[in-house]
Symmetry: C2
Amino acid sequence: MTEGIKRRGLMLVLSSPSGAGKTTLSRRLLETDSNITMSVSATTRAMRPNEVDGQDYFFVDAPKFETMAKDGAFLEHATVFGNRYGTPKKPVMDALAAGRDVLFDIDWQGTQQLKEQAREDVVSIFVLPPSREELERRLRSRAQDSEDTIQQRMAKANGEISHWPEYDYVVLNSNVVHALSQIEQILGAERARRTRLIGISEFVAQLTEG
Amino acid sequence: MTEGIKRRGLMLVLSSPSGAGKTTLSRRLLETDSNITMSVSATTRAMRPNEVDGQDYFFVDAPKFETMAKDGAFLEHATVFGNRYGTPKKPVMDALAAGRDVLFDIDWQGTQQLKEQAREDVVSIFVLPPSREELERRLRSRAQDSEDTIQQRMAKANGEISHWPEYDYVVLNSNVVHALSQIEQILGAERARRTRLIGISEFVAQLTEG
């Protein structure tokens, strides 16, 4: 958009069971689209040797995290294996106000929290694996895993998949190139959505002044 | 979509003041996208020499048109310069059920009627001209027109433009290639919208059966 018409950024949520190829799709999208950045979460878990504070995560201690949660500083937060994870609200809201889009790789629970806080800004996509065989193949890919572990993963995947009806769009990932193209189309369309555009009233006033 | 997932077609509405380039955009879209066809209207006006019945319009007499209107056989209808125009409902609904999309080149009043009849199926785009100068230039293009005629056209354009807030998307036509690309993205995205997809529940059941 030109001519004084701007737009508010959007939050693009990609959810899927593990094994649907979402991580690859996110990485490719970040590579091809210069206007979208990954949301950086805060976490209480220990920093790993290859990680960078403020890039992979914002590493915070438990009391700091709880204070932030109490102050409403998170768009969504959750506990995984005893560690706390949360999306700080301010950097996301600043990005949206500047017309930049933010990508979220979160589950259905995080998506629900996000929608409660900023429904109009959220565009949610559920990525489905192409078949049960392919999903199982991907979940079995680490050969050292026990059958129990694999069954647990399948059960977790099934639980996640059951939430597809809560999403705006559904993309079937049979082919990465095709799925990526669909996600790019969704992003392109949502950027032209009227409710996100800023300054049209003024532009129209210029168009129609007699 | 594959794997037994089908989708319901959609009604793509393009509205704009004359002079915004909508006719060119419609023609290009029909050329590049094989799954969308133009809606064919019924009319009571006389057939012109170069026109084909059932292709340009369904030519009907006034009593026939009134019977159709009374029977609810139109998705929308209007009177222009004493002639009646209407979109027959059945061919459109048949196309949507078969997963084909239908393009409508109608004004804000037609769009309102369409939305009253089938809100979930309608995707509406308002095309804006790039500037007042360009709009005026296009409306003045026929040199023999009187200043009164041109002023009437401008007033009509202004009236049409005032309805942009009723549309789902707004596309600024500064450049035909860019505007067409935006319309294609909207079409691609809306085709992946969850509410249009058919057979996902069954597909998900296959994915998750233990």
